[in-house]
């Protein structure tokens, strides 16, 4: 009769088997290959951490707190480029950015929102100490008839737009304090190739204003910046901006905006050129302010959300680079010292993600590759109080 194996003998047997297995494995030709592959497997399995960090909150150092720029980060994909752009804005001494937030990008289907990209832009801007003004338009496919442009918003979709404004304001509560309702509705192009209609735009403004205030009573709702134009009455391309604003008041816009966005391109005129209803230029902004005054809204602040000069060699509305620098610095100075009704002036455009390869490139302060143009350095010197 065999006796039951003792615990010690089982253990020694197990050890023997293990050492045999180990010996076998060590002699196997697969071992060195496995040793090579394992670190690779480890590397691929590892979840990479974020490459770009928001970073510590920074503050803008400037002698002119009304200085701003219009950025174009909507189509900027890489986060480090978003961050670098906003860093350069801060380093230039601008405290404000105006940015375009296309509704169609962020609500591709009714009720389905994707805030990943705008969150990046806003969070980086806030980390750099910048105040964000958000322009909201661009109609998604589902909110407009087929064969219309993304600027075409039918009246039956006004509530959809207003709902998006509500969601936007709610999402960015405490982060974005200014929203601009639509863009240049006095141009046929921006109104979906329809005749500009101040009354219809006013109804849109009223709907959006109510919903924005539902989401956050403290948000500042700005009426759209109008395109500076001298289009004659009945033009199929646009309506005179001064006339359009007055007709907005006639249609009941009063009380449905907390401030007015203004577009004040200088073209070839000095910012100190006399304002006139028959010319376009930076000073025309003061005429829009006068329309507010005439309608009892003189206390409403204005925000110049697009302005600037161009130094393209071949564009008829451009000036020489030296003059562009002079005019830009003077415009910043003028708004600070003389236009108390204007809270901010944002120059178009800080940087494009890629070259437009048209005269538009010569509105920029920084190249797509982050090389600062001389105007950047001049404005920076002004903001630091270093200009003679």
């Amino acid at each position: 009769m065999e006796s039951a194996p003792s615990g010690k003998s089982v253990l020694s047997e197990l050890c023997g088997l293990l050492s045999q297995g180990l010996n076998h494995a060590l002699r196997s030709p697969l071992l060195p290959r496995l040793m090579l592959i394992l670190p690779l497997i480890g590397l691929t399995a590892r979840v990479p951490g974020p490459v770009v960090h928001i970073g510590e909150p920074r503050t803008v150092v400037t002698t002119n707190p009304k200085m701003g720029v219009h950025t174009r980060l909507t189509d900027e994909v890489e986060e480090w480029k978003i961050k670098r752009t906003l860093e350069m804005v801060r380093e230039m001494g601008a405290s404000w950015i105006v940015e375009y937030f296309p509704w169609g990008y962020y609500e591709p289907e009714k009720g389905r929102f994707d805030w990943s990209h705008p969150d990046l832009v806003v969070d980086h801007a806030l980390a750099q100490g910048l105040q964000v003004v958000a322009r909201i338009d661009f109609v998604p496919d589902w909110a407009r008839p087929p064969d219309t442009t993304y600027r075409y918003l039918p009246e039956e979709s006004y509530d959809d737009y207003a709902d998006f404004v509500y969601t936007f304001v709610e999402h960015f509560r405490e982060r974005v304090h200014y929203v601009v309702i639509w863009n240049e509705p006095n141009l046929a192009f921006e109104w979906g190739y329809r005749l500009p209609d101040p009354a219809a735009y006013t109804r849109l403004l009223q709907a959006a204003y109510r919903r924005a205030k539902d989401a956050d009573p403290n948000v500042t709702v700005l009426a759209a910046g109008l395109a500076p134009t001298l289009a004659p009455p009945g033009s199929e391309w646009g309506m005179d901006d001064l006339l359009f604003l007055q007709q907005m008041y006639d249609a009941g816009a009063r009380g449905f905006f907390d401030g007015l966005a203004i577009h004040a391109y200088g073209w070839t005129l000095s910012p100190d050129a006399e304002a006139s209803e028959t010319t376009l230029g930076f000073s025309r902004a003061s005429l829009l302010h006068e329309v507010l005054v005439r309608n009892g809204d003189g206390d409403l602040p204005c925000y110049i959300t697009e302005a600037g000069w161009n130094d393209n060699r071949r564009w008829a509305n451009a000036v020489r680079p030296a003059l562009r620098i002079d005019y830009t610095v003077r415009a910043y100075e003028k708004v600070l010292e003389e236009w108390s009704w204007c809270r901010m002036v944002a120059m178009w455009v800080f940087r494009y993600p890629r070259p437009a390869r048209t005269y538009q490139d010569d509105f920029t302060f920084v190249t797509p590759g982050f090389v600062s143009r001389p105007i950047y350095d001049a404005v920076q010197a002004y903001a630091r109080g270093e200009l003679p």
Binding site: D311, R314, W315, A316, R320, P321, A322, L323, R324, I325, R357, T358, Y359, V371, R373, P374, I375, A378
Partner: protein, 264 residues
């Protein structure tokens, strides 16, 4: 068969020859190029041009076109036995006008754009409008940017020339002193007057100043390139070949040099 290898070799040669003829027909022969067909049939070569960019293209009060590009277009048309007709289009609308068939080619101080080579066909360059380094006539020590260390260099404030000078100062670590002027002509005048040691400006301004005021010369090697080219629609291979051949001939014959002396 006595020489099967030779037969196969000859058959291969015939195939290659056929393929070459087909490719040539498809690409170059007038019969397959609607642009050339149209020019030949109408006897008119339509040229899109922004006639507001002197000295390349401009119009007088009566609407007559003149300029470097106008002379070049007339010369090309003359050599082909047709007449040049100009279509005045704003610079930003030139490509659309070409692609919409409003003209047969763009000849309008058009810079080569590497991003559009699938949309149009570009000719070889006929003019370089890039940046040049100018020095005084008697200056012999400065032969390029490497000799600018410790020198005063005039540029137009805010221009590509200033960016170029800054690039050499900051990236190239050449300790030059940048002197900014309100315009390129002022920068060249400062050089002429001995206020600075060198100036950087685009070739059009440099050629013009050197001819009108004298006293300066330029280093022949360009600091940057801005090549002006002629553009035709895709499928205009034969027109392209005729343009390329003529440009080569015009260069050889000194016509482009003459045009430069006439207009700058």
């Amino acid at each position: 068969m006595k020489h099967p290898r030779l037969v196969w070799f000859l058959a291969g040669l015939v195939c290659w020859a056929c393929a070459a003829v087909c490719i040539r027909n498809a690409l170059y022969l007038g019969g397959s190029d609607p642009t050339w067909d149209r020019i030949s049939e109408a006897g008119v070569m339509r040229v899109c041009m922004e006639a507001a960019y002197p000295p390349f293209g401009m119009t007088d009060a009566a609407g007559a076109f003149s300029g470097f590009d106008v002379d070049l277009a007339n010369e090309l048309a003359g050599r082909w036995g047709v007449r040049a007709e100009f279509v005045n289009v704003h610079f930003d609308g030139l490509y659309d006008a070409l692609l919409a068939g409003k003209c047969d080619m763009i000849l309008s101080a058009l810079p080569y754009d590497e991003t559009l080579t699938e949309d149009v066909i570009y000719s070889p360059s006929y003019f370089n409008a890039g940046l040049l380094l100018a020095v005084r006539q008697e200056e012999r020590r400065i032969r390029g940017v490497n000799q600018l260390g410790g020198k005063r260099v005039a540029v137009e404030l805010g221009s590509a020339a200033e960016l170029e000078a800054r690039h050499h100062l900051e990236q190239g670590r050449i300790p030059l002193e940048i002197v900014t002027c309100p315009g390129a002509q002022e920068a060249l005048q400062a050089l002429h007057d001995g206020e600075v040691d060198a100036a950087i400006a685009d070739s059009v301004n440099v050629y013009h100043f050197a001819r009108e005021s004298g006293g300066i010369r330029y280093i022949k090697r360009f600091l940057s390139d801005e090549q002006y080219v002629i553009a035709v629609r895709p499928g205009s291979g034969y027109t392209w070949k005729r343009i390329a051949d003529e440009l080569a001939r015009l260069t050889r014959q000194g016509f482009l040099k003459t045009l430069q002396q006439r207009w700058f």
